[in-house]
């Protein structure tokens, strides 16, 4: 190879060094690796929205909503899974924690974590939803302007791994007269719920892992009950006891807090499965459109009764509907993301989504939902969510 500086007239194209600006991060060595990662600092605002309705006297009673308007996909990262705490997050020593199975069983048994590690496990992706999710839309006379964290955040979706409950119950040998099991948590108030044995035997899981890693403290570390499709409160966290009984105990939560008063003044109890529901997350309230033109409407749909069959979207307040694309795999009792391209003309528009599940159940209008219940009820709200887009692009929560 030859000569000095580049020769004039060489056939080789010559480039002066390109001039585009070089950001400072491309001129330095980066940070060292870390054992456990965290989101970027610029994303520090992506947090659960924490509500402590009795902050002055009982801050341990709280609701923390997943910020669905800042998430995409279907999995909820563990750090953002919703929490509802009735007595705070207990600090449990996993070495001393045990699961007891007793009552109407042949062999009362206890299991520690070490023993449970040897059991057969299954893995399944499931949503959890508090039956109080979307409570503000249920009861507030005027629609609250807030993000999907406060409006619909008591809902999350993760991959759970644990032991099929029937394996453990069979080992203890539930007697024929043991029709219910009272599940109790290891938290301060020892939260308890009566669970039908049929559900536990069908698809109940003693969940030990969430999105691959050990369940986190706010989700029940070191173990929780998972009842796919059933209201969040029954999926008892920090599970420490399953007590087989001949009848439901009518525990505190199934007597009051998680029963619903109907329009006629009577109540319904043991309303376990969550209804079919959907929400458009992009765009949604508190957002502003970035000019007219093409958007992809994106949202989440789910049902406690099985897989989602269809999601329809309307941009004219329900006058016309288009079927959205469902992101596969569409799994039973798991969040399903739907998407639909939509051109915003810059005019006021009323967006709605309406999900249908595999049983044929369809979301009610807010009006129809309200008509069933007493005005005070805020549980099991699954009405169609409407978002008003104003002429200047603000997205607002509306009842329609």
């Amino acid at each position: 190879a030859g000569g000095g500086a580049a020769l004039a007239g060489a056939t080789m194209p010559r480039a002066a060094r390109a001039q585009g600006a070089i950001p400072e991060w491309a001129t330095v060595a980066g940070e060292r690796a870390r054992g456990y990662g965290m989101p970027a600092e610029a994303e520090a605002h992506v947090q659960r929205a924490i509500l402590e309705p009795f902050a002055d006297v009982a801050p341990q009673f709280s609701l923390s909503g997943t910020p669905h308007h800042r998430l995409r996909g279907t999995i909820t990262p563990n750090g953002l899974h919703f929490e509802v705490h009735h007595g705070g997050r207990p600090n449990i020593d996993p070495e001393r924690h045990r699961l007891m199975i007793h009552g109407l069983v042949e062999r009362p048994l206890q299991f520690d974590l070490g023993a449970l590690e040897r059991y057969p496990m299954v893995t399944a992706t499931h949503f959890l939803e508090c039956s109080g999710n979307s409570l503000f839309n249920a009861i507030m006379p005027d629609p609250m302007q807030a993000g999907c964290d406060l409006l619909h955040g008591l809902l999350s979706n993760t991959e759970w791994t644990g032991i099929p409950m029937n394996v453990l119950l069979d080992e203890a040998g539930v007697k024929p007269e043991g029709r219910w099991l009272v599940a109790t948590g290891g938290d301060g108030p020892s939260l308890a719920r009566s669970i039908p044995v049929e559900k536990l035997m069908e698809d109940g899981m003693l969940a030990l892992y969430q999105n691959g890693e050990r369940i986190r403290p706010e989700q029940g570390y070191p173990m929780r009950l998972l009842l796919p499709g059933f209201e969040g409160n029954m999926n008892v966290k920090w599970l420490t006891s399953l007590w087989a009984t001949d009848a439901p105990a009518h525990t505190k939560h199934e007597s009051g807090e998680y029963t619903e008063i109907l329009a006629d003044g009577s109540s319904v109890k043991f309303t376990f499965a969550m209804g079919v529901k959907s929400v458009i997350t992009h765009p949604s309230a508190t957002m502003t459109m970035s000019g007219s033109g093409l958007y992809e409407l994106s949202g989440i749909a789910w049902s406690g009764a099985g897989p989602i069959r269809k999601v329809e979207v309307s941009a004219d307040g329900g006058a016309s509907w288009a079927e959205a694309e469902l992101q596969g795999p569409v799994l039973p009792r798991a969040l399903t993301r739907f998407r639909l391209p939509w051109a915003w003309e810059g005019a006021p528009s009323l967006l709605m989504s309406r999900a249908e599940d595999a049983t044929g159940a369809v979301q009610p209008t807010r009006e129809a939902w309200k008509a069933r219940y007493d005005a005070s009820n805020f549980l099991h709200y699954n009405a169609i969510q409407a978002w008003q887009i104003t002429a200047n692009g603000e997205v607002q929560n509306v009842y329609a």
């Binding site: 062999r107 057969p120 080992e171 105990a249 505190k252 043991f270 159940a361």
Partner: protein, 152 residues
């Protein structure tokens, strides 16, 4: 199907909150109490959260109903046994399980009396508590019995 590694569990190893007092009274311990006793304990240990007379709140007032809470425990709940058990395992929030059985009976009596469900002088104990006729008892539809896991 599993490895059979569960260890035998003896009765003495089971803490009380691993069971629940049943609506028919099974599981209720000895002891008892009245609204008068309960009233003093309530004032000391409960009123900050649930209100001076039990109807003010801010936390779900057990006496009512009112605009704050449509489902007061001492009136809306179908069984009085639940009051005893829940108070004993869970209340006060900052010291759960600190109450004696007598105290829990007395607090249940206080709340029931404040709701007019029992008389001021009635003693609540293992015999009387399950016999309390809660006014809302027959006003519930059991959706699981009616239609199983199908959402209502």
């Amino acid at each position: 199907e599993g490895p059979g590694l569960g260890q035998p569990l003896s009765d003495e190893e089971i803490p009380f909150y691993a069971r629940y007092v049943m609506p028919d009274g099974r599981g209720l311990p000895e002891g008892g109490g009245t609204a008068a006793t309960g009233s003093a304990i309530y004032a000391e240990k409960c009123a900050t959260c649930h209100g001076a007379t039990g109807i003010e709140g801010p936390v779900m007032p057990p006496v009512g109903p009112n605009d704050i809470w449509a489902k007061p425990a001492g009136r809306y709940w179908p069984y009085a046994t639940t009051l005893f058990d829940y108070i004993r395992r869970a209340m006060p929030l900052d010291a759960p399980k600190s109450l004696s059985d007598d105290e829990a009976y007395a607090l249940a009596a206080f709340i029931l009396a404040a709701n007019g469900v029992i008389g001021e002088g009635d003693t609540m104990d293992a015999e009387s508590l399950p016999k309390v006729e809660m006014p809302n008892r027959d006003n519930f539809l059991d959706v699981w019995a009616k239609q199983g896991a199908t959402p209502w």
